[in-house]
């Protein structure tokens, strides 16, 4: 648990290196701005500023980079809410209810909800990290392919809650998405479906594909509109409403805590990344909510759930990095490089010998989350002005930026071309009422599903009884099945009730008609 003398040293370290605090605000702004550009992910934002940090002293460099990390964690939700384009895969679930709120003219509140959820859960993640950094790191290493496969399946279950008019089309969309996600070289070294294009060896780039699919259904249809929001009175930017959203977040402590726990654990597992945490948090919140029908139609809880998982994942990912020297995802890989460039190797010996430094880094991140509140409100205020600009000006600029953002993923026109090809596919899918979200989830999770399923198979030698040696995996599958069963049961009951009500209404209506006739 917490080592108090080291903690005091850490406080000392924080104050003696007060100069490095100056890097918090620039770092947050860089993170917010970069990640608000569709296509530029957290990893990329950090990779861009890494060379800059070489010229700072160690603590300043880490403060600067982690500030970018914190800012970028929130920045992605801004385009997700205002324009339905997730800045990166981790804000995909934010679009579901965030954009729906915007459409209702509640973009101020939605951004406020997201900001506060992001801040609170960011802090929650780090506080937990402060307490349990070492035991947690050891547990993380024990999480194997079977558990990871269970998590991936859990992520896919989100599809069940997305709802679609046609079950078959939803299932086809999901299966097709998974197949698209497995293109390229798999974990056993087999290359499929690349048509000889070397770029595809690493798979279909998910960010351009995701933006393309979503853009077709949303961005391009704006061409016929004068403004992003239809209602004139909705096109306002109001600090009061943003703050209202911020306070509103406090009404849902359960959603915040659940989102944080999911985010921390998934963020801590190396190699999973943040793209699945927000999906699971969203699906779980929706499934357990009494008003689950209003999810996807502008329920603030959807925004809070998604954002809380994204923000808390940062803490989890940092735990693995500091305690083990293993990157949980792309962003922490960059941080490790920054550590190394200052001749410090994170890992077990680093935690042992430099505990005050570790605590100072964690404490500084908590401070960053608090500063994010202020900087974030300012950022929202500026960013949401896009709702006041006519589409004829804002739309071309956004399309150019998004296209260049997809170019920035690998530095090849393969990105923009992927964007376009998937926009075409997206058109067709929307036109014939296939759920786009199912394809996106498939693309995001397809690779992980295959990799972990395959490793589970290899590890067990093909013996399904192997799962009995992995109690954690059994627990995850168990919880999943029970929760599914409960939902199905609840839904059935609800449907029955609704059907009865409808029948009663219909009967009433018929009576009325009959009455009028006679």
């Amino acid at each position: 648990m917490l080592d108090f003398s080291a903690f005091q040293d850490a406080l000392g370290l924080m104050f003696t290196s007060a100069g490095s605090w100056g890097w918090i605000v620039p770092g947050l702004i860089v993170g917010l701005v970069f990640s608000a550009i569709p296509g530029v992910s957290i990893t990329m934002a950090m990779a861009i500023v890494l060379p800059m940090s070489l010229y700072m002293d160690f603590f300043s460099a880490i403060v600067f980079l982690t500030s970018v990390y914190t800012g970028a964690g929130y920045g992605g939700s801004v385009p997700a809410i205002l324009m339905n384009i997730p800045g990166s895969p981790s804000s995909f679930a934010t679009t579901f209810d965030g954009y729906a709120m915007s459409k209702k003219g509640q973009h101020n509140e939605a951004l406020g909800y997201a900001l506060f959820a992001s801040t609170i859960c960011g802090i929650l993640g780090y506080v937990l990290l402060l307490l349990v950094i070492e035991p947690m790191a050891n547990i993380v290493l024990r999480i194997g392919p079977v558990e990871m496969f269970a998590v991936a399946v859990w992520g896919m279950l989100l599809l069940g809650s997305l709802g679609s008019k046609y079950l078959t089309r939803g299932l086809l969309a999901a299966a097709f998405g998974i197949l698209l996600g497995t293109v390229g070289m798999n974990t056993a070294g087999f290359v499929r479906g690349t048509m000889g294009i070397p770029t595809l060896l690493d798979g279909i780039p998910p960010i351009p594909a995701m933006i393309g699919l979503l853009a077709a259904g949303q961005l391009l249809t704006l061409a016929g509109k004068d403004y992003i929001l239809d209602a004139e009175e909705a096109r306002e930017v109001s600090v009061r409403k943003i703050l209202k959203g911020c306070w509103g977040t406090m009404k849902y402590p359960g959603v915040l805590i659940r989102g944080s726990i999911i985010g921390i654990i998934i963020g801590a597992v190396p190699g999973v990344g943040s793209s699945i945490g927000n999906l699971i948090a969203y699906a779980e919140t929706k499934r357990t909510s009494k008003d689950s029908a209003s999810f996807g139609k502008g329920n603030p809880k959807g925004v809070i759930a998604a954002e809380s998982a994204v923000a808390s994942a940062e803490g989890g990912s940092m735990a693995t990095m500091l305690a083990l020297g293993i990157p949980g995802g792309g962003a922490t890989a960059i941080l490790i490089a920054a550590f190394m460039m200052h001749n410090i190797v994170p890992g077990p010996s680093f935690i042992e010998n430099q505990k005050p430094m570790v605590y100072a880094i964690i404490l500084n991140n908590i401070v960053q989350a608090l500063v994010l509140l202020v900087v974030g409100i300012g950022f929202i205020y500026v960013a949401s002005s896009v709702v006041k600009v006519r589409t004829r000006y804002i739309l071309p600029a956004i399309l150019v930026i998004a296209t260049l953002g997809t170019y920035a993923v690998t530095g090849e026109t393969a990105g923009p071309i992927t964007l376009f090809v998937f926009a075409l596919l997206g058109f067709a899918l929307v036109r014939y009422e296939y759920p786009i979200a199912a394809v996106v989830v498939g693309i995001l999770l397809g690779r992980m599903l295959e990799t972990e399923f395959l490793r589970s198979y290899q590890l067990s030698g093909g013996n399904p009884l192997y799962i009995f040696q992995r109690p954690a995996a059994m627990a995850i599958f168990g919880v999943m099945l029970i929760s599914l069963f409960m939902t199905a049961w609840g839904k059935r009951k609800q449907a029955k009730q609704e059907a009865e009500e409808e029948a009663a209404m219909e009967a009433l209506h018929q009576q009325e008609l009959a009455g009028r006739k006679s």
Partner: protein
């Protein structure tokens, strides 16, 4: 088309989409199997592909509508409520044309990037998409497009670690 005394209309667009997805899936399955039939290769891909093909078969009948049904189907679509998970395309003719135009412009844009350079491609795409969205004043078309081009080219050049091929800037 008439089958069993019922009139059917065929939704060719939907048929083409199902055909495309089914065809791509089938090709992918064969491509994967051509590489290797080892379980390490097709453990997930084969069952998923077969499942997808099965779904295609199940969806196929949905491409054929009974004419009588179509007439009888009530206009139940609730347009007033927006559902982000099920976005709707615009139905008005002018909107469809604009959207199509913008999509086409985007297509030309992404393929032109490497051929004419980023700067020129961005300039023309911005101008074209502004025109599609309804801007007609030439001064604004030129100046705003120029501003977008300069900001994005220099901005992204400072931002990304890759070279961007430009012709003039």
């Amino acid at each position: 088309m008439r089958i069993n005394g019922h009139s059917y209309t065929i939704d060719y667009g939907h048929l083409a989409l199902v055909g495309l997805i089914g065809g791509a899936t089938l090709w992918y399955l064969f491509d994967a199997r051509a590489v290797s039939t080892s379980i390490n290769n097709i453990l997930l891909v084969q069952p998923t592909a077969i499942f997808a093909l099965l779904m295609c078969l199940l969806i196929l009948p949905q491409c054929f509508h009974r004419v009588a049904d179509e007439m009888a189907a009530p206009a139940k679509a609730k347009q007033d409520e927006y559902d982000p998970l099920m976005p709707k395309l615009p139905t008005e003719r002018s909107d469809v044309i604009r959207m199509g135009g913008l999509g086409a412009a985007l297509g030309v844009f992404v393929f032109a990037l490497d051929i004419v350079g980023f700067d020129i491609a961005i300039f023309f795409f911005t101008a074209a998409s502004m025109a599609i969205c309804g801007e007609r004043r030439p001064a604004r078309l030129v100046l705003y497009s120029l501003a977008v081009t300069i900001c994005t080219v220099y901005g992204f050049r400072a931002l990304i670690p890759f070279p961007m091929a430009t012709t003039i800037l």
